[in-house]
């Protein structure tokens, strides 16, 4: 069972929820796909961490073979190639590794070379396998790292919790596309509703089963809750705007391991989601 936790903006509570769900599940894999700023490891403090570099393919020019036809320059949507003074220049940092330039080159002057864009770290914290994707600063996209993380996790038959990047862009799509269930985390503000709307559209587009977790709930009107009622969206639970929880979290403590009431909160969320997934697989096999 793969549960993806996502939200339209950062700081909503994706890491809080995915870390605590994994901790509540005991035997689980926690995957941090927020490769631009992964922070789940701060809570789990994994041990025995193995590091694997992740690279992408970028073009390498053979200047002897290049005849200056510029087909590659014209092809590249990202303008990663320029032809100056009879010489082809490749801008490695701008290249998105689509491989198109290599395909269109009639002279076979372009070949692939590897370029490291980041790494995957795998460690263990109690019974939770903690996998973290790290994208090097300035790289165009973390998708290759997320692909690799999720490919490898599909070979492991354990409950998997995917801590997604914020927003609803390609890296989030990559993170949720094979998820059995999506938990959308929402804040009780109008801005929160806007961001919830973004991920709501996304999970509908990807036809993923989903529910909303309302975070930072106060005793007042909750616009995110209203949005769920209006759109007939399942509310999985409510996390209070709570000083104790905030303090634990900002001290990088896993709340379910520190206080029974939080263990109950996240265990009940886990049960609910597990039932939802079972229900989905029986109704939409």
């Amino acid at each position: 069972m793969r549960i993806a936790v996502l939200s339209g903006k950062g700081g909503t509570g994706k890491t809080l929820i995915s870390v605590n769900l994994a901790a509540a599940a005991k035997t689980a894999t926690y995957i941090d796909c927020d490769v631009e700023e992964p922070n789940g490891h701060l809570f789990f403090k994994p041990e025995g961490v193995q590091v694997e570099e992740i690279s992408v393919k970028i073009p390498k020019v053979d200047h002897e073979l290049c005849n200056g036809c510029r087909k590659c320059v014209d092809f590249c949507n990202f303008n990663a190639l320029a032809y100056i003074k009879n010489k082809l220049i490749v801008f490695d940092d701008v290249c998105h590794s689509c491989g198109g330039c290599i395909l269109v080159c009639p002279e076979r002057a372009l070949t692939e070379k590897a370029k490291v864009i980041g790494k995957i770290k795998k460690g263990v914290s109690g019974e939770v396998a903690v996998w973290t994707g790290v994208l090097n600063t300035g790289e165009a996209t973390g998708i290759p790292i997320i692909k690799k993380l999720l490919e490898e996790s599909s070979e492991v038959n354990k409950q998997t919790f995917i801590d997604c990047p914020p927003g609803s862009a390609c890296i989030v799509m990559e993170s949720i596309k094979d998820a059995d269930y999506c938990i959308l985390v929402a804040e009780p503000t109008l801005f929160g509703v806007h961001n919830l709307g973004m991920v709501y559209e996304l999970v509908k587009l990807f036809n993923r089963p989903f529910g909303v977790m309302l975070n930072k709930c106060l005793d007042e009107e909750n616009p995110a809750e209203k949005f769920c009622f209006e759109n007939n969206i399942k509310i999985l639970g409510r996390i209070p705007f709570d000083n104790e929880l905030g303090t634990l979290n900002s001290n990088a403590e896993i709340a379910v391991n520190r206080n029974e009431k939080y263990r109950e909160l996240f265990s009940s969320l886990l049960n609910k989601v597990t039932k939802e997934v079972q229900h989905e697989t029986t109704t939409n096999p």
Binding site: N79, A80, A82, Y83, I84, K85, I89, D93, V94, T137
Partner: protein
Amino acid sequence: MKIAIPVDEKTLESKVCVSFGRTPYFLIYDVETKDSIFIDNSAAASTGGAGIKAAQIMVDNKADVLLTPRLGENAADVLKPAEIKICKTITGSAKDNIDAFIAGKLSLLDEIHAGFHGHGGN
């Protein structure tokens, strides 16, 4: 000698565009013939690498000098090997800047910014 300037409008009186890579037009002014031509900047709508493509347009139009308020690192990496001189514009129209350049009153642009997308630089 050909002078290129990113401009907001297709007139000599136009203001210089604040962006090199995403300017709507380039003015190419020929100092010998005094001809002005305006070209559409096909790099303006690029997904990325607009500076690189705009610099390629400078090279392809055989500009000798570029007058611009600022320039990114990638664009500079195209213009420098192409031996295109880069000068910093002053307040005023495109025409004012051409006159100032011809009178030797424009200084070389020495501050190249690292771009706006985290590429290169840091």
